[in-house]
């Protein structure tokens, strides 16, 4: 019964966070001279009113599930990986290379190969920061952030150098082999096989943290690093493992964007998916299933912000404002839950 109450309160504070952030953003909408109720109808409800928009949510969710889970794995271990953006680019770069180079392989060997390459590239890029942290005690927040810029520039250099389209001179890579592309799984949509890959990773991450020794060690290192050391756990191994898995999953986001959406590498492949992953992971309470739900919500408001921009003329950046406000109010809501302020209020009331 008590357990039920706590779960109920968690949901209630979550909803309170959503409502609070809508109140804050409605001030902006009012200042912009639009009706907040109308705008929020377009942002939250109308994406679910048509097939096209629901499929759009699914398409937008796909990379976000990967980057969100990447953040969950890293943050749960106390490895502050702010570099999902760069690791995504690393994965996309490796996937494109594989898709171009091994074009004579059949789909059944090529796609797993390209996925492995993308995972490995993302993992390696994250491991740089993890190694610098372990070996030289360099704060991973700074290194992962800076490495984002480095990887984006690496991609830019390759696209403007060896891979530049000789005919159009556009900074875009050659197209990957046709059989390397993820098949579209819903007709007349952008929803591709990557969504299923993403959905498969959710229970894997859950299993990793709940049912394996490595996962237990990673959780312990994240919760209390001195306790982990005292229990003779290999803290460095846990951090390296978390960085590799986190970076690898972020790399898969890049693989999905290449194999499922663009079929070639372009400079603007992400546009902040790595950072939105942090919002998704936090909104989901660093729980894989919670993060999955958060990606549904975030993709809904992004789809909705576009609809709203078309109808009411409110800039699509409203979605960013909602995201930021929601992140802050959710943190405050988690605080209330942690100190069970809500439960005390509940007890006083009944």
């Amino acid at each position: 019964m008590i357990k039920f109450r706590i779960a109920w309160l968690q949901i209630a504070t979550g909803i309170a966070a959503v409502i609070l952030s809508f109140i804050v953003t409605s001030i902006l909408v009012l200042a912009a001279g639009a009706n907040p109720l109308e705008v929020f109808y377009h942002v939250v409800i109308s994406p679910f009113t048509s097939r096209v928009n629901i499929l759009e949510i699914l398409a937008r969710m796909t990379p976000l599930i990967f980057t969100g889970l990447a953040v969950v794995v890293a943050f749960k271990t106390g490895f502050w990986n702010i570099g999902a953006e760069g690791q995504l680019y690393a994965g996309a770069l490796a996937a494109t290379w594989g898709g171009i180079t091994f074009s004579n392989l059949p789909a059944l060997t090529l796609i797993p190969l390209v996925i492995t390459l993308g995972f490995a590239a993302g993992a390696l890029w994250a491991l740089i920061a993890a190694l610098l942290k372990i070996r030289f005690k360099v704060d991973e927040v700074v290194t992962t952030l800076l490495l984002n810029y480095v990887m984006i520039l690496v991609v830019g250099a390759i696209l403007n150098g060896p891979w530049r389209d000789p005919v159009s001179m556009w900074p875009q890579s050659p197209r990957i082999a046709t059989q390397a592309c993820y098949p579209i799984i819903v007709s007349r949509s952008r929803v591709h096989l990557g969504l299923l890959v993403a959905l498969a990773i959710v229970p894997i991450v859950h299993f990793l943290f709940r049912r394996t020794t490595f996962g237990f060690e990673m959780r312990t290192v994240g919760a209390n690093i001195s306790a982990a050391r005292y229990a003779a756990m290999n803290v460095n191994r846990a951090i390296l493992l978390a960085a590799a898995i986190s970076g690898g999953i972020a790399g898969l986001a890049g693989v999905g964007e290449i194999l499922g959406v663009h079929h070639q590498l372009i400079e603007t492949i992400s546009g902040g998916l790595g950072y939105t992953g942090i919002v998704a992971g936090t909104l989901g309470g660093l729980n894989p299933w919670g993060t999955l739900s958060a990606t549904v919500f975030l993709s809904t408001i992004e789809t909705g912000a576009r609809i709203s921009a078309r109808v009411t003329g409110i800039p699509t950046h409203l979605a960013d404002v909602i995201k930021g406000t929601l992140l802050i109010t959710t943190l405050a809501a988690l605080f209330i839950n942690r100190y069970q302020i809500g439960r005390k209020l509940w007890k006083q009331h009944y």
């Binding site: 902006l28 912009a32 502050w80 702010i82 610098l132 030289f136 005690k137 360099v138 704060d139 927040v141 700074v142 290194t143 952030l145 800076l146 490495l147 810029y149 480095v150 520039l153 690496v154 830019g156 250099a157 390759i158 403007n160 150098g161 950072y275 942090i278 919002v279 936090t282 409110i314 800039p315 699509t316 950046h317 409203l318 979605a319 960013d320 404002v321 909602i322 995201k323 930021g324 406000t325 992140l327 802050i328 943190l331 405050a332 988690l334 605080f335 942690r338």
Partner: protein, 308 residues
């Protein structure tokens, strides 16, 4: 000809270093009190935007400077509400402030100006010059008044942090908050003060980009300078004068990189753009061996000793 190149390089270094010094000094103040402010990138962007907006409508760039300071202070207080009063996780709170502040800047820009082909221009702060008639010094010292102020601010900040009662309180709160509280210093109040002033300085760094350097606002105007400031603070070991030096070194590499880009060598320009970031990471590895983080860094403080 070669002296002219060198003079240009020095002048560019001083200009590029200015926003980094402002952001670095602001962040130092905040981190000295024990708080990591990852909101810096967003505060810089909203600072740049509010300075641009105020200048656009009021006509005087100094109004823009004032607006940025005000907005930075408010965002500092927001960060304080989350990390000081509520004691929430500082990494994620900072990123939340960055996402929110960037979103606000881009949303409001789009609302007022739509998607213009040519970004709307504003009046800049112009230049001050010492000994304009001398060929070398004249060119080097042709700088924005904000640059002059910034280079005076670094030694001032050194004195404030290490030789004033406020600085003592600040350091006490960042190193041993329990002891500070026992000595009658309010940990929360001191951290709020640091965030207020630090936030204002960071936003001023952003304002430099719009009202002194560019005379306009673009989405990518800050382009990761906030994160560079975070790195500079570690590199400078939380010492204002060392941060000044670090910013000058970074700006020197950046200025050189810009010159190399124009020379070409047939290498994609992104290679040169990546240089400052890679050198920063390498410098961090070197500096880290003697980095002395504030003792209570990242630790929220609650009266009665329950930290959590």
């Amino acid at each position: 000809m070669e002296t002219a190149l060198l003079i240009g390089l020095i002048a560019a270094t001083l200009r590029i270093a200015t926003p980094l010094i402002l952001g670095g000094l602001g962040e130092t103040l905040i981190e000295k009190s024990g708080i990591l402010n990852l909101g810096i990138e967003g505060i810089m962007l909203l600072g740049a935007f509010s300075a641009f907006l105020a200048t656009y409508f009021m006509g005087d760039p100094w109004f823009g400077v004032l607006a940025a300071i005000l907005v930075g202070a408010i965002l500092g207080l927001l960060m304080g509400g989350l990390t000081v009063s509520l004691g929430l996780q500082q990494h994620v709170c900072g990123l939340g402030v960055t996402i929110l502040a960037s979103g606000l800047a881009l949303f409001t820009f789009r609302l007022f100006f739509g998607e213009p082909q040519i970004p709307p221009q504003i009046k800049t702060l112009g230049y001050k010059q010492i000994a304009a008639t001398l060929p070398l010094i004249g060119t080097i010292t042709k700088q924005s008044p904000l640059t002059y102020l910034t280079f005076l601010l670094a030694p001032l900040m050194h004195i404030v942090v290490f030789q004033t009662p406020f600085g003592l309180r600040l350091r006490a709160v960042g190193e041993l908050p329990e002891a500070a509280e026992n000595a009658g210093i309010s940990v929360h109040k001191t951290r709020y003060e640091a965030l207020l002033i630090g936030g204002a300085l960071v936003a001023l760094g952003g304002a430099f980009l719009s009202v002194a350097q560019l005379g306009a606002f673009t989405y990518g105007i800050v382009a990761g300078r906030g994160w560079i400031c975070i790195a500079l603070v570690v590199f400078g070991n939380w010492k204002p004068m060392k941060i000044l030096l670090g910013a000058l070194l970074y700006a020197g590499v950046e200025a050189l990189q810009l010159r190399l880009q124009t020379l070409g060598f047939g290498i994609p320009y992104q290679v040169f753009l990546a240089l400052p970031y890679i050198i920063t990471i390498a410098a961090l590895v070197v500096a880290q061996t003697k980095a002395a983080y504030p003792g209570a860094f990242l630790q929220p403080f609650r009266k009665g000793g329950t930290t959590g």
